[in-house]
Amino acid sequence: MAYSEKVMDHFANPRNVGEIENADGIGEVGNSKCGDIMKMYIKVDNGVISDVKFKTFGCGAAIATSSMATELIKGKTIEEALKLTNKAVMEALDGLPPVKVHCSVLAEQAIKAALSDYYTRLGVDPEPIVGKIEECNHEEGCACEL
């Protein structure tokens, strides 16, 4: 259970923590029972994610993946943001312990949830664009090799 230096950096100095007052989209995933909640705020300008902030209740990996995920989509188009996978988040953090893979899944979902909210506010059905956001199924989703 050792975190990479990148993970520890993003945990100790998380980027983009906070809220956006007049966010264009807000997504919240996870639940307190499982020990992780991620809430993501986005600002969208001309199809580009001009600002993003997060709040996270969760372990070190949850905070670090939230931070990294926001960094990875900031300034990107919605299309690019939707392509962001949990694997990309993990790779950007130089890997995660197997039991923490679900945190990266959560980060990917938080972005999608925020974008869903963005489309919903615009009156557009988000599902064809964003896809269905499934709750991380801890039972099978998270390889727990420890």
Partner: protein, 398 residues
């Protein structure tokens, strides 16, 4: 500021005492013979092992022939529980009583037995983390093979009414095992007075070496053998003796017991001071009975934050602690101990265990007291769960 390093995870493991290492050194260098052999180097090793056995027996109020060395607490628990269960099953007794918040070495041994047809009753430990003797007595049946109740809990430090439990077991003729891994060296134990039939201990919890423990087995009891083979340990636990480990185990135990009263007085004060201080934090709580607990144990929950991130922050500040958080164990559920005393999942996730030892100073505790509140503030500031709690507060929901 200097890089501090305060070790406050002594319930997980302790630093090997330099004096104990000193006692071990001959057996890591010149006295390498096999205790079971005939020649002089072997005889010296043998003598050391037998002296260690006597020392440990003395501390527990047992006879040397009742002490069996093992590789640690987990092996001792497995041997005691599976061994007694299997030997009692031959008499048709296949019911075992334990508690909900035992260590996994006990609970998973019981799971294994359940798969083999044993019936397990796990007693409630209530909000204070203490088994009620009358509930134990009520659970005893004709076919009860074994009662196994831990002496002190490893997470919340609550001390169980072992003497009462021992008396009840004796009255009903039921074998009584206690996992005393957390208690040995911290609590007065006398297996005869307390009617304990089997007792597990491990060296690394009281500044002894890792990988060496012991099982006390009352004379006349014969748990089935877990590790078959050579004639070591009077034919009941095979394997070339870890001589240095055994010497260290006894040395550490003697040391721990000789300094116990003074240490307990000092640690109880430090503990209570820090608990009082940390309870000033909004929405914090202490887990487990405040009085019937190990002198060096603090276990608290702070709502709205998650334990692992608290631990990591503490580590960045030079404090090593522990958590019953799911995230530290590789499981996703929070500690079964915290759930057993009735905490909801979301609160149990935010737990912190601080555990002290002889090495812990007043300054350490003061530093910790200063360290924690800003970390909690910071984590709460980024916690959507805390946000919800606060919103609910405003709405009048508690």
């Amino acid at each position: 500021m200097d890089k501090k390093r305060i070790y406050a995870d002594n319930a997980a493991t302790t630093k090997l005492s330099p004096a104990v290492l000193q006692d071990m050194m001959p057996y890591l260098t010149d006295v390498y013979g096999n205790p079971s052999s005939l020649y002089s180097v072997g005889a010296q090793a043998k003598k050391a092992v037998e002296l260690a056995r006597e020392d440990i027996a003395n501390v527990l109020g047992a006879a040397p022939t009742e002490i069996f060395f093992t590789s640690g607490g987990s092996e001792a628990d497995n041997w005691a529980i599976k061994g007694i269960a299997e030997s009692m099953a031959k008499k048709g007794k296949k019911h075992i009583i334990s508690s909900k918040f035992e260590h996994h070495a006990v609970l998973h041994s019981l799971d294994a037995l359940a798969k083999k047809g044993f019936e397990i009753t796990l007693l409630d430990v209530h909000e204070n983390g203490i088994v009620r003797p009358e509930e134990l007595e009520a659970a005893i049946r004709e076919d009860t093979a074994l009662v196994t109740i831990m002496y002190a809990n490893n997470e919340i430090g609550t001390i169980q009414p072992i003497k009462e439990i021992g008396a009840i077991c004796k009255k009903h003729g039921v074998v009584f095992h206690t996992d005393a891994v957390q208690a040995v060296g911290n609590v007065d134990i006398n297996v005869k007075e307390q009617n304990i039939d089997l007792l597990s201990l491990t060296g690394h919890k009281f500044h002894g070496p890792k990988g060496c423990g012991a099982l006390y087995v009352r004379k006349g009891l014969r748990p089935e053998i877990l590790i078959d083979g050579g004639a070591q340990e009077r034919g009941r636990r095979a394997g070339t003796e870890n001589v240095a480990g055994i010497v260290g185990l006894a040395s550490a135990l003697k040391l721990a017991v000789s300094t116990m009263d003074e240490r307990n007085k000092r640690l109880t004060e430090l503990r209570d001071y820090l608990i009082d201080d940390l309870l000033k934090i909004e929405r914090s709580r202490i887990n487990g009975d405040r009085v019937q607990r190990l002198p060096g144990n603090i276990n608290m929950c702070f709502e709205g934050i998650e334990g692992e991130s608290l631990l990591l922050m503490l580590d960045l500040n030079g404090v090593c602690a522990s958590s019953g958080s799911a995230c530290t164990s590789g499981s996703l559920d929070p500690s079964h101990v915290l759930l057993s005393i009735g905490l909801p999942h979301e609160i149990a996730h935010g737990s912190l265990r601080l555990s002290f030892s002889d090495d812990t100073t007043k300054e350490d505790v003061e530093y910790i007291a200063k360290c924690i509140p800003p970390i909690i503030d910071r984590l709460r500031a980024m916690s959507p769960l805390w946000e919800h709690i606060k919103e609910n507060e405003k709405k009048g929901i508690v």
